[in-house]
């Protein structure tokens, strides 16, 4: 039977490294997705993902289960990513360039060439438009989109109220919609 996150956390707290590996295996892609949504480059996203799990391991002893494991790990990831984004000075490639491989790979499965062209344009412009949002607006839209998290969970992760999450989401969506209207 598969252990719950909390059971794995208890095992980690007892010093079982395998239990922590299982948690990393469950959440590494989701954490990476959130971080990549916030940062511009794959390399940076990978570094922040590693840092997130490293810090999570160091702090897991103090995790008391007051929140779910995924909100806890996302909170660590988002804080590191936002700090990294603010510090980010070097920027030889932007997220769009870095994501070109993915966008092209997705286009290879084209069926309707016209709709695929539109979709490709939309994806490219969406990535660019997301990058133009502030870290706080980017964070709400990414957390909501990837995990379908509730406003309450997002608020807990970002340390703000549900009302703030709601207004940030509304603003971020409007901004994206305005920038992408011609491609939608």
């Amino acid at each position: 039977m598969e252990l719950t996150d909390w059971e794995l956390v208890r095992k980690c707290q007892a010093g079982e490294m395998d239990a922590f590996q299982e948690l990393v295996s469950r959440y590494h892609q989701k954490v990476y997705m959130v971080v990549l949504g916030l940062l511009r480059q794959r390399e940076d996203a990978m570094e922040v993902t590693q840092e997130t799990f490293f810090r999570a391991y160091r702090k897991i002893g103090s995790f008391q289960g007051g929140s779910t494991f995924y909100t806890w790990i996302y909170r660590i990831a988002v804080n590191i990513a936002i700090d990294a984004q603010r510090r980010q000075k070097r920027n030889p490639l932007d997220f769009r360039d870095s994501m070109d491989g993915v966008l092209e790979a997705q286009n290879e499965v084209a069926k309707d060439p016209f709709s695929d062209l539109r979709d490709k344009e939309l994806r490219e412009h969406l990535v660019k438009a997301i990058n133009e949002l502030t870290p706080e607006h980017k964070a709400v839209i990414v957390l909501r989109t990837i995990e379908g998290l509730s406003y309450r969970d997002i608020g807990e992760i970002l340390g703000c109220s549900e009302g703030t999450v709601m207004s940030r989401l509304h603003y971020a969506r409007k901004k994206l919609q305005d920038k992408l209207r011609t491609f939608l």
């Binding site: 590996q21 990393v24 990549l36 490293f54 966008l103 939309l122 969406l126 997301i130 989109t145 919609q177």
Partner: protein, 180 residues
Amino acid sequence: MTRCEDTGKSIGRWLDGELNPAQSAAVCEHMSDCPACGEERRQLEKIETTLRSVLVAESARVELAPLWREVRQRIERKRAWYEGLLERSRELFTAPRAAWAVPVVIALLLGVFSLDSYWPGWRFGASRNSFAAVDSIDAHGRSVALLRENESKTTVIWLYEDQEVENEAAEEESKSSPAF
């Protein structure tokens, strides 16, 4: 406010499942009758599905094995004593966590500087009973010194000529005045 304006603001919350059943039904009903709000919903859904597809495709590239190897290596590496200290201080002083420190420092400084109004003569390291030069003002060639004794609450105001100005004046006088 029109129905469209009301609904327009709620479509995002409807998509997020954050409306109660009654509100949700009202928004749903309006969207099925109103082409503009229906289009708004379609656009928002399109943005969400596109963003998800981009990020999901990218995250599928991340392999667990190399990531775990890196994380495990870092966990097992013995840290120097200062690394832990650096980590803790970075966490403590990283904005916005250190934001509380700014008003606290301002309040402390104001407290220290206003202490003298409530406790006259108070100074860093100064004895309460000693004389303290409170101020010295240069006005029109005269200097004013205020001396205050704390215990008897006596204040002495001392007006004296600036020595340099005095000397200069004396010199000029001696030059201009005749020998006899």
